[in-house]
Amino acid sequence: MAQASRTGIIVKRALQALPVLAGIVVVTFLLTRALPGDPAAYFAGPSADARSIAEIRKSLGLDRSLPEQLLIYVGQLARGDLGQSISTGQPVMDELIRRLPASLELTLAALALSIGIAIPLGILAATHPDSWIDHLCRMLTTAGVSLPTFFTGLALVYVFYYLLGVAPAPMGRLDIAVLSPPHITGFYTIDALLAGDPATARAAIAQLALPAITLALFTLAPIARMTRGAMLQVLSSEFVRTARAAGLSGRTVLFTYAFRNALLPVITTLGMVFSFALGANVLVEKVFAWPGIGSYAIEALVVSDYAAVQGFVLAMAILFVLLNLVIDIAYTLIDPRVGKDA
């Protein structure tokens, strides 16, 4: 029963996503065209004259009418071709395949780190209100939301790399002396381990540490606060009192009854935090020369690189559709009511 309804949810969600994606394709197409600036003039380069700009406009296909351009674009999409980015000179698909894992590796590492800290911290703060740990939690969350990520990043670089020299040079995903592992998942740490190369994996983790901590500090706050808040609410609810009155052990009450119920809002927050984190990535990527998708999109946007911007938005849209799906499924796992209602 639960199994069938879960499959039902997945199918339904996937179908709901289709019109959303179609809408995104059209809207991003129009939005990129509405950007000020003329990519042809930009890419014609220095000292180009009107004739060479016109030549470039033609070679980029920008001399055609908008509906015509849209049709060509949709046709390319249907063949799985996201077009060629003019600013980097590479097919957009290749760039996304290379850069998305870099961003995901960073974001997921940061999320793992911040969940690992924030959830226990939130629970402890809720079970010991107004104790030192509650104050610590409050301090960390305030600092986390109020410090801009590029500042945290630069401060960490300054202290751990520049002053102390314990962190490796912030020069991207791997040190210059280390070759990148063969591409399997695109996650360097996983690829290196799959290739049986612990030294490279270690180097990748070392490069990952500071940017992941930067991003983790940023994502810590909402998760910790939400955990604390949700736990406080659940702990004061009647069914917990009943469980306590029934003489269940504190541990059982806390984890089996209270935490499981508090987890739902936390999961919702996690979904949102993940999307924030992908956005905050841009700045972290800049500071640590991380070749991720955020810096790619910003560069593309600045130079009106239509294909790249469209490809990026589409990739992100698909990513969020998948993310929401995962969260919905997680709900059904945690809360039996969700599965049955749907």
Binding site: Y42, G45, A48, I56, F288
Partner: protein, 541 residues
């Protein structure tokens, strides 16, 4: 969620802590690896083929370092002790010798007989012709730059025998030979090019975009777009003295603060193109050496656009030139890294040196007097625009200009224009009334600067300056030999007109600064504003 799951969660904390012992410095090995030069740049290379449409400026360094040209410029040491290219000294790179015909209408090049492409095939006159044909045929910037040297069509290029090549000239011009030494006319393998050409892409730009084949000092080891480019030395290079470093790793580090930390820690040998502020501070701290030189034939200027009413009146333009706080701009926007371009002694040019200080100083009374003589004595309002891509100096300069102009009653609103739009509105459509501009000419002759910046319709004349006498003078001098007795008087007249008409008000001549580690020597400054890795070497102890 059960207890086990919670423990798995706390496991993540343990993992985070576990990571810390791996945080080891890489500084040790970077200092030990003597064969590899590590360079940090802030820009992205987007193609390995300069001739291709859409190739950006930072990519020109690839051409400089991995390809050869027929000729190149030599180097000299300037008054401040920096190594700079020498516009007056042409050397053969693939050419062993060259000779201008007695009638002056053709130049014959003898090619080095032992020069080979990386794949071992010899470099012949056919390759040279194919490459130059390509440079003039693909359009866009390469064609424009070739045209500056009067190189416009394939019929001008002639193969005499496998090692002799001739260029037929359309007119005698002092710009032709130097134009063969700029990055554009680089020599590729025509064999590879012809094999990879398609009907739609007859010059194999798609192939050379990612797969270079040249004869240069370095060859491509790998290119990870958006991350790094790695060169390996071509030990069979015949173009000149073999470079000292066997490998060059160029890492793209977007954040300026990170690049600065890297050079100060000594993890990179060279941080190419640093802002003036960092140059000043690093110099003071002594953590690395700052090397740089004024960029030849380049000026940061305030342009008044003559299609807009107040600026049609010469006295308004002069008033503005007297109302700029030059000294403050120089200190706060250029951080003192530049050559001053104001305070010239007389309205009569000192000579034909270019650029030279304009005869204006900060003199608000004079500015007010001048403005009072015009229809705009009560002042006016005007937007002041600059390119966000050059905000490092543009923003402080614009704010100080705003302050200065306010003192004579000209109210400005600052308008920051994103890089992608800048070219279109400022240079192509030329519709910005008052703006900052920073053109620099690759070919280092004054008339070349004037050609681009003072002739109506030319790209960098964003002032829409149009003057019949100036146009005639520029036409006459552009190709004239600089030692022609007629040259200096004409040029002096041009400079005097630029002083008096001031459609472009120079602020300063910028430096291009880089920071190098103290054990590195041989960094040189070039007109193309790209690093030449071939000359960089470890400092001898």
């Amino acid at each position: 969620m059960h207890r086990r799951a919670f423990l798995a969660g706390t496991g993540a904390v343990a993992l985070g802590a576990e990571v810390l012992p791996f945080l080891k410095s890489s500084a040790a090995w970077a200092k030990g690896a003597g064969d590899t030069l590590i360079v940090a740049v802030g820009t992205t290379i987007n193609s390995l083929d300069l001739h291709r449409v859409g190739t950006n400026r930072p990519s020109y360094q690839v051409t400089v370092n991995i390809y050869d040209r027929l000729l190149r410029f030599g180097t000299k040491v300037n008054a401040e002790g920096a190594i700079v290219y020498d516009y007056g000294k042409l050397e053969g790179e693939l050419a062993e010798s060259w000779e201008t015909a007695p009638d002056g209408m053709s130049v014959t090049f003898k090619l080095k007989k032992d020069a080979k492409f990386w794949d071992g095939t010899p470099v012949t006159a056919d390759d040279v012709k194919w490459s130059l044909d390509r440079a003039v045929s693909l359009g866009g910037f390469p064609a424009v730059q070739m045209k500056a040297g009067n190189l416009v069509k394939p019929e001008q290029f002639e193969v005499v025998d496998p090692h002799t090549f001739r260029i037929k000239l359309l007119r005698k011009s002092k710009l032709t030979l130097p134009d063969l030494a700029v990055p554009v006319p680089f020599i590729l393998s025509s064999k590879v090019g012809k094999a990879k050409a398609t009907e739609k892409d007859p010059w194999a730009t798609e192939h050379f975009h990612r797969n270079p084949m040249g004869s240069g000092a370095y060859k491509l080891e790998r290119w990870d777009p958006g991350q790094q480019i790695v060169y390996t030395r071509n030990d069979a290079w015949k173009g000149g003295a073999l470079p000292a470093f066997k490998r060059v790793v160029i890492r793209e580090i977007p954040a300026q603060a990170t690049r600065r930390a890297l050079i100060e820690r000594g993890d990179v040998h060279l941080s190419f193109e640093i802002p003036a502020k960092d140059a000043k501070e690093i110099k003071a701290k002594g953590t690395a050496e700052v090397v740089g030189a004024p960029i030849d034939n380049c000026l940061h200027v305030l342009c008044t656009n003559l299609t807009f009413e107040p600026f049609k009146d010469k006295r308004v333009r002069q008033a503005i030139a007297y109302a700029l706080p030059y000294e403050q701009i120089f200190e706060q926007a250029a951080y003192g890294r530049g050559a001053k371009m104001w305070g010239g002694k007389s309205a009569e040019p000192a000579g034909i040196a270019w650029p030279q200080p304009f005869p204006y100083t900060t003199d608000y009374d004079k500015a007010k007097d001048l403005l009072a003589q015009t229809a705009f004595k009560d002042g006016f309002e005007v937007p002041l625009s600059f390119d966000l891509g050059t905000a490092e100096w543009g923003e402080p300069a614009a704010l100080l200009i705003q302050e200065g102009l306010a003192k004579i009653g000209i109210k400005t609103t600052i308008d920051k224009i994103p890089g992608a739009n800048w070219r279109t509105v400022a240079l192509v459509q030329k519709k910005l009334p008052l703006h900052l501009e920073n053109f620099g000419g690759w070919l280092n002759t004054p008339c070349y600067y004037f050609f681009w910046a003072y002739v109506k319709g030319n790209l960098f004349n964003s002032s829409n300056y149009d003057d019949a006498e100036m146009k005639t003078l520029i036409d006459e001098t552009l190709h004239m030999a600089m030692d022609d007795p007629a040259y200096a008087p004409k040029l002096k007249r041009m400079i005097a007109k630029a002083f008096d008409d001031v459609p472009r008000i120079p602020l300063w001549q910028p430096y291009l600064d880089s920071a190098v580690r103290k054990d590195i020597a041989g960094y040189s400054s070039w007109f193309h504003r790209q690093p030449d890795m071939r000359l960089i070497k470890p400092k001898e102890a």
